[in-house]
Amino acid sequence: MMKTISPWPLAFGIALTSVVAVVGHGGATGVVGERMMGMMMLGEQVQLLAPVASGEPVEPKVIQTAADMISMHSGSAMTNLFPEGSLDAPTEARPEIWARWQEFSGLAQRLSDLGDELGSAAVPPAPAAPPSPVQALVSTQRSEWERMSFASLMGLAPVRSEAEVDPTETGAIAGPPATRPVAEIYGDITRTCASCHAAFRQ
């Protein structure tokens, strides 16, 4: 005898998932709910990547996944969720988005580019030659204060963390590094988010 499957559990599951999603975004539905979900996904990736800011190791697989998610939810994927005038509650978007659309879409695209760059940097290239013991010793002995300079503090020169010091300057490797360090890209990602929030979020 053929067993019939009741559609009710599936329907109940879908309904429950929708309710949870809507409640989770302050009751937001439609395009506002969709973009709030996207922002939440971005926030989760930023949280997962947080240890890199303090120099702690993060699995390349985690970085790669976060990079993919950032790329997926930024650029045109993000700006498409901001049709003009979509300011239904509980949105936190400000109408300046459409008055300064070029700036807004520029920041969304910058985030997308940084996501791509993060993906490329997820697996660090093997060094051509290990640093000499003397170099390693000097490197670990440079304190946070020593890495700062008058020019970097005043904004007259870029700030460089220990990880950002070009190994060619120290003679550790022969050629320039192919990619920027993950911590530096992460810093640019959070700065891009901050610029956008400062200008376009209530």
Binding site: G43, Q45, Q47, A53, L153, G155, L156, Y186, A194, A198
Partner: protein
Amino acid sequence: MSRIANVMVAALAMASVGVIALELWPLPAAAVLTEHVGDAKRGAYLARLSGCITCHTKQGELPLSGGPALVSRFGSFYAPNITADAEAGIGNWSFEQFVRAVRQGVSPEGEPYYPAFPYEFYAALTDRDLADLWAAVRESPASNTPSRDHEVGFPFNVRSGLKVWRTFFERPVSYTPDPERTLEWNRGQYLVWGPAHCAACHAPRNALGGLPSARTLSGDPQMQDGGIAPPLTARELTARGYTKAALVHALKTGVTPDGDVFGGSMAEVVHGSTEFLLTTHLEDIAAYLLDIGAR
């Protein structure tokens, strides 16, 4: 003489007395300073910590060459050019004039500064701090960009009226270490209430922009720029998911415990100031804030 004429003469006389009184209203005299040889790098660090570079610099321009509008309910204030340029900046000032301006809020011409310049907090800076800041100013490139006038309406555009304001609302911060507390806690107290001037935004100001008489970081639901500054007490911070490590991380990166990223004026504070600070100083700040009201 008609009655109207009498009233007009009386009003004119009162106005004249008022103007003379405001002109003669005393301002604090310059303090006697101890000798220090300034360290420009330490001064640059203090300029980051104190927000000098954040407020006095427009994006893409030379540091300290003049800032963007600081919007308030009284009007827009523009932090002036404080580079070493002799004409447009403060290159002609003496060190004593610089100290009086920063710590006492009085210009070399004897005019009071608006409290948009948080000199009440900088009152806690030491002579050595000021010598270092002065060295940083002197060593930075000079800019001839002219300072922009504030856009403030009547009666707030009457500078001398600030003397009356100061009499009633000025709250200069003094730093007294607590011997019962750790070095970390005391440093945190100094940083929070002195150079970092957290209470400039995170304490409720009255209708005339005055700070509360008691030291509090209970937040400001109606900031001058229309924003909301949340409380920074241990209870509130803990409820928002902040631990010491999370607070250090937020001040270093602008990322909150739930993965959100600061916007508004706090984004400017992080990316213009706190992200440049030593981890140990961020830990001091976090240790102090997470203790407020905890006992």
